[in-house]
Symmetry: C2
Subunit: 197 residues, 2 copies
């Protein structure tokens, strides 16, 4: 069985989206671009590209929350960048939505345990990646379902937005740093999730 | 003239103290110890010790807020670990307090510009280090007075406490990562502070 990995870009002050999940303000849209700019940034070291590519190289299925899906489905377009089944956590059942290049969006109403079981069944020995948003990652983290956290720490103090880590308490959760990769526009941090205290 | 450097330990979820600045609960006291444990952790690489020592090797004066002083003055004891003049930002003037080993606490009532001028006058070509707490670092950061941020990122999701970065908005502040040092118990991140947007 593969690992369950949450993967998220985050500003140094802890935001994974800028000023509201909908990017309603210009700072919102600007901040969104800034947090993900490292993915599209050519750099002499090739480190950003390597980090970006390895996730999808080992993953067999992805999970995301419905708000992330709502915001992303249009920009991701006819051939989304996932190239694997994507399970969307929602309250409203609907038919799967097939796109080109191997991405099919499946809508799962049974909560995180159900969605994880379905994603694992598809992924087999490959990893399952939790793509966000913050509340979805929080549920997996607090529920003890995450094996690994990959944080792409973006060197900016954003000053507003949605915090990646919020209402995770009351029990602290220990992590073990397993890798650090410095690159232009992001410091890529990998942590193994240890037991809650 | 030396640099103005803020130096702070921070959990992955952005807390620099655990559950209230006074460490009133057991989690508070436990969390405090956890955030600073890297400083006292022997590791085969020697990286924690190197990071801990270099700050005080280049600094000629330190600055802290009054609450940090109030909490720390007793545990720091008769020979505090600073070995340099420490300027405490306060509303209440009082006489300097001399300790052994080169630490004298000076109490400054004129705000951050005044305290920085006094610290710089003492530090000369050496650095001035802002030791905290969060609100003091925020004032220097937002005021455009910081040259460098040193964050010791501790691999734990703490779930509560005082956030290092809060109310810094509305203008995002760009940083440039200049160094990453992975070590047991902390990932040591150094950023140059660039202009506000």
């Amino acid at each position: 069985m593969g690992s369950v990995i949450a993967d998220q870009s985050m500003s140094l002050d802890g935001y994974c989206t800028a000023v509201g999940a909908r990017g309603a303000t210009s700072l919102g849209a600007w901040g969104e671009r800034l947090l993900h700019a490292w993915m599209f940034r050519d750099d002499a070291t090739g480190r950003n590209a390597a980090v970006r590519d390895e996730l999808f190289a080992t993953a067999g299925a992805a999970i995301m929350g419905r708000r992330m899906f709502d915001v992303g489905v249009e920009p991701w377009g006819e051939e989304p960048p996932f190239h694997m089944p994507v399970f969307v956590i929602t309250h409203h059942a609907r038919e799967p939505l097939a796109r080109r290049g191997g991405t099919t969006y499946h809508f799962v109403t049974g909560g995180i345990d159900d969605v994880l079981a379905r994603a694992r069944a598809v992924a087999g020995d490959r990893d399952v990646v939790i793509l966000g948003g913050a509340d979805t990652i929080r549920q997996f983290l607090v529920g003890g379902l995450l094996d690994e956290l990959r944080i792409h720490l973006v060197p900016v103090v954003l000053g507003g937005g949605t915090r990646l880590f919020d209402r995770t308490g009351p029990e602290p959760i220990d992590l073990l740093p397993t890798r650090v990769v410095g690159a232009p526009g992001a410091t890529h941090l990998t942590f193994r999730v240890l037991a809650n205290h």
